[in-house]
Amino acid sequence: MSTIFGIPTPALYGQILIGLINGSFYAMLSLGLAVIFGLLRVINFAHGAQYMLGAFAAYLLLNWLGINYWLALVLAPLAVGVIAVIIERTMLSRLYGVDHLYGLLLTFGLALILEGAFRYWFGAAGQPYAAPSQLTGAVNLGFMFMPVYRGWVVVASLVVCIGTWLLIEKTRLGAYLRAATENATLVQAFGVNVPLLLTLTYGLGAALAAFAGVLAAPIYQVSPLMGSNLIIIVFAVVVVGGMGSILGAIVTGYVLGVLEGLTKVFYPEASSIVIFVIMAIVLLVRPAGLFGREE
């Protein structure tokens, strides 16, 4: 069996794939956080709960209404996005004029309530969610076997990340969003309905989280705490990438996922802290993050 640095190559490729999968989720989630933080200046602590809601929405759609995975991939983000819009209109929008800490506390409180409620209803144990039949099995890539569903997750997350990036960088709506991130008052003085833009942005960020949740459902189990386990790492990713940087969030998400996977191969003891070590080093060397602008 061939080896690299004394590591069997199948194990290495396997961990890189797992790293890519995790990185896909880091990228999608940190992207949403970055978009929301960039425009609303709210650190959305409910992001993990919105991811969990997406997974549960898929689970409930299937088990209560018999709605399949593919439809859930559209309906769950839509539903979570609508809930987020309601939260933004009724609660979050009242906090823009005050210290950012209030937005953080509100979203943190909402996350606790949502996770608590789902624990009460479904218990802390995970619920299984089967991958759709079209995406079961594995393909032989020549150097390794890759489960089809995992390949799909990487592709789908890349499409979503690139699509979101294009939306923000190349469209008129994206130009409003970038400009409002810099100077919301002036953009509104030009006649753009900035309050509506804020609402839609929060809805979009939450919908991205929910989409990631549906993608995650067949890989990780659907559990009330699935989001809070992940969100801490995602915050580290956002800090490394640079708060508010869209490209930074995407690139850092994938890179840190793979680095974490490689650490599992070469020095497993460090795998659960490697991202935080990197975060500490980045904060020392570049406090604004790798892709962030100094303010």
Partner: protein
């Protein structure tokens, strides 16, 4: 309705937080007029523009555009009633290129200049249309800030110190642009410290001091009033 002013400001009071910064400002501008606000730094000129635009929210009094009350409108509706705003700090966006900066403000009415017309008027902007907005020189940024509102079809423009910190040749260029806009029948409310520049374009002056309008006179009286102005402006 030609006798009614385009913009009518009556007894305008405004506050920054707790501090009362405008004290009963009255101001009339007729269609097609260019009016310049003079006053020392801190006299309330920029504040008056910000209060008219609705950027400064804590206001009392009357602000009417074509008889329509602006005071109760949310900020984004003010521009939609046909006002273009060129802020003192120019407000060019760093994350947008020149062409994106130019097309950012939504159209507020028919009859705005096309992007092609604007590029003919400002060839520099065309050359640098793919550059990051804030990579332009100060003069080019000011041109861009003005060009940006011409696209929207706004017929009434608030211009806050467009010549500040710019070289004489650029100031001259901006003067030419304003003259061209006047010929097109645009109404302009200008805040300006540069007398010589203001004299060329202004039909009327208002003099502000400590958040109040203290005097108003037609443009041709500027020279005759220089002594009085020197006293108030301390220049």
């Amino acid at each position: 309705m030609s006798s009614a002013p385009l913009l009518e400001v009556r007894g305008l009071n405004a506050w920054y937080g707790e501090s009362h910064v405008l004290h009963g400002v009255d101001l009339d501008i007729r269609e097609g007029e260019t009016v310049t606000l003079l006053g020392r730094n801190g006299a309330g000129k920029t504040t008056t523009l910000r209060a008219i635009m609705g950027i400064l929210r804590r206001r009392e009094g009357v602000i009417r555009l074509r008889g329509k009350d602006l005071l109760g409108l949310p900020l984004h509706k003010v521009a939609q009633s046909g006002i273009g705003y060129v802020p003192e700090e120019r407000g060019i966006f760093a994350s947008l290129n020149v062409s994106e900066n130019l097309t950012l403000p939504p159209t507020v009415s028919e009859g705005g200049m096309s992007v092609e017309e604007i590029y003919t008027l400002f060839p520099n902007l065309h050359e640098r249309r793919s550059s990051q907005g804030t990579k332009l020189s100060g003069g080019e940024q000011q041109m861009l800030a003005i060009a940006r509102v011409l696209r929207t079809g706004a017929r009434f423009i608030l211009l806050d110190e467009p010549t500040e910190g710019l070289a004489p040749v650029i100031v001259q260029r901006i003067g030419d642009v304003l003259t061209a806009l006047k010929k097109r029948g645009m109404t302009i409310l200008l805040v300006e410290q540069n007398f010589r520049f203001a004299k060329k374009v202004a039909d009327r002056f208002y003099l502000m001091e400590d958040g109040r309008m203290v005097n108003s006179f037609p443009g041709h009286e500027l020279d005759a009033r220089m002594d009085e102005l020197h006293e108030v402006l301390g220049v």
